[in-house]
């Protein structure tokens, strides 16, 4: 019996290892091709680079020059970090306020924001980008406000769900001790919200860092984020520089993988919480 079980789990182990390897193959192929000359990629993507096809870091230097990758990385980082910070900060405030103060206005705000979660982006993309243009929000700072508006739905929803489970007594005690609502929120409530704030931050980071269409429509012509820079390389048919493309794909993947490996526990927890609540 035990021998049979051990055999079985060894079999599973071998199967999973093979599958895990298969999972990584696409990434390894891209990595390998990023060191081959641009004309040797499409025809034989699975061939290792050899003396003839190896091109060192040429693809990286030409790709970075063509797409302005360093700048794109800067814009992506700036927009993601500040949008996420702004979203977490303001939606936590809003969610606490409309959960605690029961009124018609509160439930209207709540339901409108929850409603926005089910609306596909294509529904508002045109009018929203015109609006952003009219209000001069079409720059890396203005887009933060757009992201706050679009991120409000999911974030308020997740925060509200969590706040409902916090006993009111703590806050009531603070009020009796003479705290204003602002003091109560920042001194008492905000520290309690920390674990769920991490979830909200992770979900929004994954969304905004990878977002393509929204920044493309709002700021794309003047400021390229990483996804826009990658798509930009596509260009017209035939003119595409495959070498630069491979190098840019690698450079786009590396930061995410590092982020993932360093905060994996939070990411997986956050995604599960987000999915179950959403």
């Amino acid at each position: 019996m035990i021998a049979k079980q051990r055999f079985q789990s060894n079999l599973i182990l071998i199967f999973l290892s093979a599958l895990a390897l298969l999972y990584l193959v696409p990434l390894l192929v891209v990595f390998m091709n990023s060191f081959k000359g641009r004309f040797y990629i499409s025809d034989a993507p699975f061939a290792f680079p050899d003396a003839k096809t190896f091109s060192g870091i040429n693809n990286y230097t030409s790709g970075i020059a063509k797409t302005g990758f360093i700048q794109a990385f800067g814009y992506s980082l700036f927009i993601t970090v500040f949008s996420v910070a702004v979203i977490v900060f303001f939606t936590a405030m809003t969610a606490w306020c409309i959960t605690r103060v029961k009124s018609k206005v509160s439930s209207m705000i709540y339901y409108l924001m929850v409603f926005s979660m089910i609306v596909p982006f294509q529904m508002v993309m045109f009018t929203m980008s015109k609006m952003a243009n009219m209000l001069r929000l079409d720059n890396p700072i203005g887009i933060i406000i757009i992201y706050l508006g679009f991120g409000a739905g999911l974030s308020v929803f997740i925060f509200s769900g969590f706040i409902k489970s916090i006993p009111r007594e703590i806050e009531e005690a603070a009020t009796i001790d003479g705290c204003s609502p602002i003091q109560t929120f920042f001194l008492i409530v905000l520290p309690i919200l920390k674990p769920i704030a991490i979830t909200v931050a992770i979900l929004n980071t994954m969304w905004i860092w990878n977002d393509y269409l929204l920044p493309y429509l709002v700021i794309g012509s003047n400021y390229k984020t990483i996804p826009i820079a990658v798509q930009y390389l596509q260009g017209g048919y035939g003119s595409r520089d495959m070498g630069a493309m491979m190098a840019m794909l690698v450079l786009a993947i590396v930061p995410i993988v590092i982020f993932y490996l360093t905060s994996q526990k939070y990411i997986i927890e956050g995604v599960v919480t987000g999915a179950v609540k959403g």
């Binding site: 895990a20 596909p120 409000a152 994996q264």
Partner: protein, 281 residues
């Protein structure tokens, strides 16, 4: 804190509400209005009634094709992704060595953006197809199965994580008791595991359905609709209608409204299904 002075209420809610109104609410209402008009910019809208809605279906077959392609894609990807994810979750909850490493690997593609994913798989799929002298733009079937493989690679790990959480929530006494009663592993799976993870199945099914319906970046990067918009899904078709040809903005907006209604119906269905489940249990 049942009541709060108005200035505090404004302090807490206004920043989010203003951003929400600017970037979502006004554009949403304007979007519905504009779908009944002909416009180039927004300010020059002329009322045309339901003409745009009729044109969306009659001008060409693109929208209907995209709808069928999307529905077919959603069905196939929902079944495959959930089967793979659930099987992986079962294997990874059997206390084998290296469980965490496997979980890390299988979940990783989920973090990579859609555009990047699309180009990674374009390289791989074209690399295989070149042996047959074609590439992914040759037939919409290649685009279809390419997207299926891509979505499985991206989403299976995500769904797997949700299933793992659900399986780990099953009380161990239940499984122990079944074992003492002489149940084999197939009976345990059928009578304990699957019924108890049904809420997770509902969640994962609808997550995959809505994600499949809204798919855009992957579609754009992998095939961009080639050949001749035949592998374009709804979101991409709407985008192409809007920005492909001047003068078709109204039709694009009408398509977007229809798209919104389809997605909303799916979500309402999900809410009903999970409500009835909750009442039952």
């Amino acid at each position: 804190m049942e009541k709060m002075p108005k200035r505090y209420y404004a302090f807490f809610t206004l920043p989010t509400v203003i951003a929400f109104v600017i970037s979502f609410l006004i554009p949403f209402i304007m979007g519905i209005y504009l779908s009944f008009t002909e416009f180039r910019t927004v300010t020059d809208a002329k009322w045309v009634g339901v003409t745009n809605y009729i044109s969306a279906f009659t001008e060409d077959n693109n929208f209907i094709n995209a709808g069928l392609f999307t529905a077919k894609f959603a069905v196939v990807s929902v079944v495959l992704i959930n089967l793979i994810a659930f099987s992986l979750a079962l294997l990874l909850t059997r206390r084998i060595r290296g469980t965490n490493t496997f979980r890390t690997v299988f979940f990783m593609p989920n973090l990579i953006g859609g555009i990047v994913l699309g180009y990674i798989w374009q390289l791989i799929i074209n690399g295989v197809l070149i042996n047959f002298g074609v590439d992914i733009t040759f037939s919409e079937n290649y685009g279809f199965w390419g997207l299926i493989v891509l979505m499985n690679w991206q989403m299976a790990g995500y769904m797997m994580v949700i299933y793992i959480a659900a399986i780990q929530n099953i009380p161990t006494e239940l499984v122990e008791a079944a074992k003492i009663d002489g149940a084999d592993s197939w009976q345990i799976l059928k009578n304990i595991t699957i019924p108890l993870v049904m809420p997770a199945v509902t969640i994962c099914t609808f997550l995959t359905v809505t994600n499949s319906f809204k798919l855009f970046d992957q579609n754009l990067a992998l095939t961009a609709g080639a050949p001749a918009r035949k592998s374009a899904m709804l979101a991409l078709d709407i985008f192409t209608t809007f920005y492909g040809r001047v003068g078709a903005e109204g039709v694009g907006q009408a398509k977007a409204v229809i798209f919104f209604i389809i997605v909303a119906l799916i979500v309402l269905l999900q809410l009903r299904v999970s409500r009835t489940r909750e009442v039952e249990s």
